[in-house]
């Protein structure tokens, strides 16, 4: 029997395992992680599976080391990933910033639990949304996807690797305990149908001066050189010029930070994913993501049965924020409601974009928000 890296077929699969299989199918061959509930099953699954496909699994001493190790592996050319939950993400943020600055593709899975601090290790949360966006110091843009099913734990993990490589950036998969521990139907396509976007690579072999951070093209992504290829590149977390050398000037700094931010903003339409349910004629729109969007979909269906023109906008990607789409919706929609398992992190974002007060259905975490309070809010808005 040959052991496959892509488990093509229909499965009844655990969300964390689906994420791990998505990583393998995407060609991830380096996993460095530290056990933490409710993400541990991802590492456990890869501990067994990575050797089967000739990849590296290493359990690191902590999340600082995990994040650093996957960046190093990425610099050597591997597709690399780590998985954690809120307390671990707090530690990884230091080197997520390094990943942004060195433009090292990497995937960080955060299976969110009740927070802050140790919080509710075995119970769900969605309160790392702003930490994912702003947690590392400085100005930067980040990409984050939010799966609502084990199927998306697979699909969005594959997409995360493609986006990470295409735009040379860390990408977060902001899952939650419900989706991570849910067992559901997962369909894995044939290997040749799994999309793979390769890193942009230098055109010429090493010969004379090479500028590893020089951008050619509109996407603002410099071609990536891997360790050991002979280009003799220098990567530094210090502000650097196109050659990669430290340059302590305000102009260089401004230009670099603006490019790193614009790299994501300018390509946002390629990165953003949303899903619309009954939005065409909706006057009341629920915005939700992850497991909470499942309750929101139910609430919207019940509202429709009652004749209320409600719809759901599901944020499949959370960052960059879909400002354009929400801005357009604001012209046709009377009321926005945000349902999320935190105390208003995305509601405030929606308010910022639609420029009006937005009703929030919030819970600090520990249990899924059921459809009823969302339906109630829709009914109130309809009156």
């Amino acid at each position: 029997m040959t052991i496959k890296s892509v488990l093509t077929g229909k499965h009844f699969m655990h969300g964390d395992h689906a994420c791990a299989e998505g990583a393998l199918a995407a060609g991830c061959r380096f996993f460095g992680g530290y056990p933490i509930t409710p993400s541990t099953e991802i590492g456990e699954h890869l501990a067994r599976r990575m050797p089967e496909v000739g990849g590296v699994f290493i359990q690191m001493e902590d999340e600082l080391g995990s994040m650093s190790a996957i960046l190093g592996a990425s610099a050597a050319g591997a597709r690399s990933m780590t998985a954690t939950s809120g307390p671990g993400l707090s530690l990884m943020l230091e080197n997520i910033g390094l990943g942004v600055m060195l433009e090292l593709p990497s995937v960080i899975v955060d299976v969110q639990r009740g927070s802050p601090s140790t919080g509710l290790p075995t119970m769900p949360g969605q309160s790392d949304v702003m930490q994912a966006r702003w947690g590392s110091h400085g100005d930067y843009e980040i990409v984050a996807y939010s799966p609502w099913s084990p199927q998306e734990m697979f699909d969005l993990t594959v997409l995360s690797f493609n986006i990470a490589d295409r735009y040379r950036t860390p990408v977060l998969l902001l899952a939650d305990e419900v989706v991570g521990h849910m067992v559901e139907r997962v369909v894995i396509p044939p290997a040749d149908q799994i999309e793979r976007w390769e890193r942009k690579r230098p055109q010429n072999p090493p010969n004379g001066r090479f500028d590893p951070f020089k951008v050619i093209g509109e996407d603002l992504v410099p071609p990536m050189v891997h360790a050991g290829e002979g280009y003799r590149i220098h990567y530094t977390g210090l502000t650097h010029d196109e050659h990669g050398y430290p340059d302590m000037s305000a102009d260089t700094h401004h230009n670099l930070v603006v490019r790193l931010v614009e790299k994501v903003r300018r390509n946002a339409s390629q990165i953003i994913r949303t899903e619309e349910h009954s939005l065409e004629d909706a006057r009341i729109v629920v915005v939700s993501f992850g497991c909470t969007a499942r309750s929101a979909r139910r609430a919207v269906r019940l509202a429709r049965q009652q004749g209320i023109p409600a719809g759901l906008l599901r944020l499949v990607s959370i960052w960059p924020f879909p400002e354009g789409l929400l801005g357009e919706l604001a012209n046709q929609v009377d009321e926005f409601i945000v349902a999320e398992m935190n105390l208003g992190q995305i509601r405030l974002e929606v308010e910022r974009v639609v420029r009006r007060p937005v009703k929030g259905i919030h819970h600090a975490g520990g249990a899924m928000i059921p459809p009823e309070p969302i339906l109630h809010a829709i009914q109130e808005a309809a009156q």
């Binding site: 600082l64 080197n95 003799r232 220098h234």
Partner: protein, 276 residues
């Protein structure tokens, strides 16, 4: 005749980024001497230059990555070792060295250091020990001797320092040595040797930091610290020393033991391989 003669070439031009000179190090600092040994060892290693990788953390010694004309990574404070581990495991054909300082490797990066040594992962660590945080202006660290003055220990350091060879030996490194900045030949030879030695290797290099450590502790300049090394360094026959004698205090007239302390063959770390 001009009093200054400028040479066109330097023996290390092949491995140094001459366009990055002058370096940032203070007069009397020892890091450049150690970097020269590292460069010389790379040249003599017989390993293709493109296969040599250097990873550094943050601090004066961390700047070495920026001066070496090989693929080089200047990472975050304390994280050079796990970053280097990722590089090495993802591409085992690389010769990955970590060049950084005592504050970076032993304080903020201390957990990574002991665990990399425990795993015996194939990394070549060169640790500059100048007994303080130099770049930030002379604060005490985990290698500062008890009682020594630093900007954060104005009444004398109340803490006891790490003894690095003892720490690394206990943690599991395959090779551990210590030299002073005077021992350029031994440093280069040990670096060369570690390139052939599988597993985790650690070379501690005692370096003058006249501006950071020296000025607060009655060591006039770099030369005086080198003279202290010349007077006090005692060569240890392989590993033959009691742990407490390895403690260093430049301010006391006592021997500083240098030499090779560990050279053994614990199994180096290898990711799990199974037949397909």
């Amino acid at each position: 005749m001009s009093p200054v003669s400028v040479v066109d070439q330097h023996p290390l031009d092949k491995v140094l980024r001459s366009d990055r000179m002058p370096h940032i190090w203070c007069p009397g600092c020892g890091i450049g001497v150690a970097m020269r040994c590292f460069g010389q060892a790379i040249l003599e290693s017989g390993i293709p230059i493109e296969k040599h990788i250097v990873v550094s953390g943050i601090g004066c010694s961390g700047r070495v990555a920026g001066y070496m004309n090989i693929d080089s990574y200047h990472t975050t404070h304390g994280r050079a070792i796990p970053f280097a581990l990722g590089l090495k495991l993802a591409n085992p054909s690389l010769m990955v060295s970590v060049f950084s300082g005592d504050g970076d490797l032993v304080a903020i990066g201390g957990n990574h250091l002991i665990h990399a040594a425990r795993r015996n992962v194939d990394l070549k660590v060169i640790c500059i020990n100048n007994f303080n945080y130099g770049m930030t202006g002379g604060q005490a660290g985990p290698t500062t001797p008890r009682g020594a003055l630093a900007t954060t220990t104005p009444y004398g350091n109340p803490e006891l320092p790490f003894n690095l060879p003892y720490l690394l030996a206990a943690s599991g490194a395959n090779f551990v040595s210590r030299w002073s900045n005077l021992h350029v030949r031994q440093i280069k030879e040990d670096i060369l040797y570690t390139f052939t030695k599988p597993g985790f290797t650690f070379i501690e290099i005692l370096c003058p930091c006249p501006v950071g450590f020296g000025k607060s502790n009655n060591i006039e300049d770099g030369l005086e610290e080198m003279e202290l090394y010349r007077q006090r360094c005692v060569l240890v026959r392989d590993g033959d020393i009691r742990a407490e004698e390895l403690d260093i205090d430049l301010r006391e007239d006592r021997p500083i033991y240098v030499g090779k302390f560990v050279d053994r063959d614990r199994a180096p770390y290898k990711p799990v391989e199974i037949g397909q």
